[in-house]
């Protein structure tokens, strides 16, 4: 219980710092504050006064800030200059697309990375291990944008296996419900679900692959290192001398001890993963938050930038803290009352 309290305090404080930063951004952007905030140059004194009053710019910073926070909480995140739509709605569409992409990439990394990493670790310092290790090193060293471009060149333009861009063919009209395309397809009525699914998967294929190559490679390396570490521990020797079979030793002693230290490393990987997802989105015109933020940068859409940054940062913080909390709860050797960290 106490640990939950500790983590929630940590979480709230970190979010507060982020909100302060995002609030300060508007003053840090070049140009007139009012201009940055509204995107409108005031036509007359009266107009200007009206805008100033609306955004409470005449009050002290502290009250401006409390106003900002209360606006954030009430769901009024401001409007985009470009589209004129409320930002909450725009982010609500863009963020799930990114989460979806990152989630599938992480899923692939876990499903492939952990078994392969364990195998390499158990066969450590044999030709099999060396080849897995060098392959993962190669995979780890690819710059993600280059890999994505290469995939587009090979699979889309040359072999014509997968489509170039987007989430789903325009022929399908999928109403926006959850923001996750696969779930939305299942929820959508009057469409050919299997056909739409297949199309969505083909669209997903290349971006997911491009991100997951790097995540999988790093996962393999982390798990392998951890398994080798555990193999050298005295308790594995002791378990062997008790005559347990290889499978018993692996499943009861190696796996758990090897994966426990990998979990916090995974939390660190999430930042890289989301960054990579944002880069890949731009290349594949995937309607995610990365693509959206870059558009916002091009258009100097300052309100969009500040709320978008806040949204991405909160997502990363939430995931990191959740993984750390989870790790703390399942790892018996860590003190339950240890302080939380990000």
């Amino acid at each position: 219980m106490r640990i939950l309290l500790r983590f929630s305090i940590l979480f709230i404080l970190t979010l507060l710092v982020l909100v302060v930063l995002s609030f300060a951004l508007i003053y840090l952007f070049p140009g007139d504050v009012l201009n940055n905030l509204t995107g409108i140059s005031a036509q007359s004194e009266a107009h200007r006064d009206m805008l100033v009053e609306k955004h409470r710019l005449d009050e002290a910073y502290f009250f401006q800030f409390t106003h900002y926070v209360s606006e954030l909480f009430s769901g009024n995140w401001g409007q985009s200059f470009v589209s004129g739509l409320p930002l909450k709605e725009e982010i609500g569409r863009a963020l799930p697309a990114t989460i979806e992409l990152a989630f599938y990439a992480m899923f692939i990394a876990v499903v492939i990375g952990i078994p392969v990493g364990c195998y390499a670790g158990l066969k450590s310092y044999t030709p099999v291990d060396y080849s897995i290790n060098s392959l993962s090193m190669v995979g780890y060293s690819f710059p993600v944008f280059w890999l994505a471009l290469l995939f587009i060149l090979m699979f889309s333009l040359e072999l014509n296996i997968a489509p170039l861009s987007g989430r789903i063919s325009l022929l399908f009209d999928i109403p926006h419900r959850t923001g996750f395309i696969l779930i939305d397809i299942l929820l959508a009525k009057d469409i050919d679900t299997s056909l739409a699914m297949r199309d969505a998967f083909r669209h997903l294929l290349l971006p997911t692959l491009a991100i997951s190559v790097i995540s999988t490679a790093s996962m393999i390396r982390m798990v392998r290192r951890s398994v080798i570490d555990v193999l050298n521990r005295p308790y594995i020797t002791a378990a062997r001398s008790r005559g347990l079979s290889r499978w018993q030793i692996f499943s009861r002693h190696i796996l758990r001890n090897a994966l426990l230290p990998v979990l916090p490393l995974m939390a660190i990987q999430i930042t890289t993963l989301i960054t990579n997802a944002m880069i890949v989105e731009t290349l594949f015109s995937w309607p995610g938050i990365g693509n959206w933020l870059i558009q916002a940068i091009y258009q100097r859409d300052f309100p969009a930038l500040r709320v978008g940054m806040l949204a991405v940062a909160s997502l990363v913080i939430t995931l990191t803290i959740t993984i750390d909390l989870f790790n703390r709860l399942i790892d018996p050797s860590r003190d339950k009352y240890e302080r939380g960290t990000i």
Binding site: P234, Y235, A239, L244, N257
Partner: protein
Amino acid sequence: MPILDIKNLTLEIETAGERVKALDKVSLTINSGEIRALVGESGSGKSLIVSAISGALPQKFHLTADRMSWKGKNLLSMPTEERRQLMRREIAVVFQNPGTALDPSATLGEQLMESIPSELVEGKWFWQRKQSRRKSAISTVHKVGIKHHRHYLNAYPHQIPTDISQKFMLAMALISQPQLLIADDPTRGMETTTKTQVLKLLTRLNQTKSLSILFISHDLLAISSMCHSMTVLYCGQTVESGRMKMLRKRPLHPYTKALLDSAPSFQKDLLPKSLLPTLDGTIPSLKHVPIGCRLGPRCPRAQRDCVITPAVRRIHDHTYSCHFPLHMEKL
């Protein structure tokens, strides 16, 4: 009839292209129903012998032996699976450092219960088997002198004191009802009363179930009170081996004598505040082992011949390897 018979066991460790003999022609036999002590200073290779017997040596160690057999079966050429079954059922090992020899992520109960070989578990269905495992775990834990089984079976290794984890290691070894127990310093760090309990338990098991024990310790007093025979190791060489009584009465090797003299309880005519006799110097590191008899540079009786490794000589069941043994005139 020896159940474990090791003759001229040599263990070479490869370091920087060079091979060092960490164990040099060690011989050790354990008879059925015997408690044999293995003594020697730290670094003399006692734990290496334990690892060699239990087959837990790393790949880069090269093991050769003229004979290394368990009940007549050669341990060196035994297939891995058979060796594993042997370790599961007939030989049990208590390692040094119980803190690191226990898996930190599993409860002690889980680790204890998984050490029970399946034929000792009664019942047909998994819940019956689970119950039977739990029952024998609890009774074994009580046997080694842990009272609060409910607390300790659910505890993780880092939550319990060292002497309890030591007892748990012992319980894990005994729960498979082995014929040979290899105990590497099982009483280290225990206070005297607990130690006595554990030693009593081992003696009782030896008498009632004819459990053979290879008892490795620094505690000469405990050894002399419970062991039948003793093997003395110095720097990877067996210097002397024989029945406990004979060794105490007439040690033939200078090192055995020095070892026994250094324990005050064995000396009746020790004057108050007098210095205990010890050998000068320390045990050499493996990188600089002397040639010939490795005790040479520290031995009070060393002569020129000692640069040649002395052959093993035998008087009845008392073996020693020394060119200039003590007490020869009385024999």
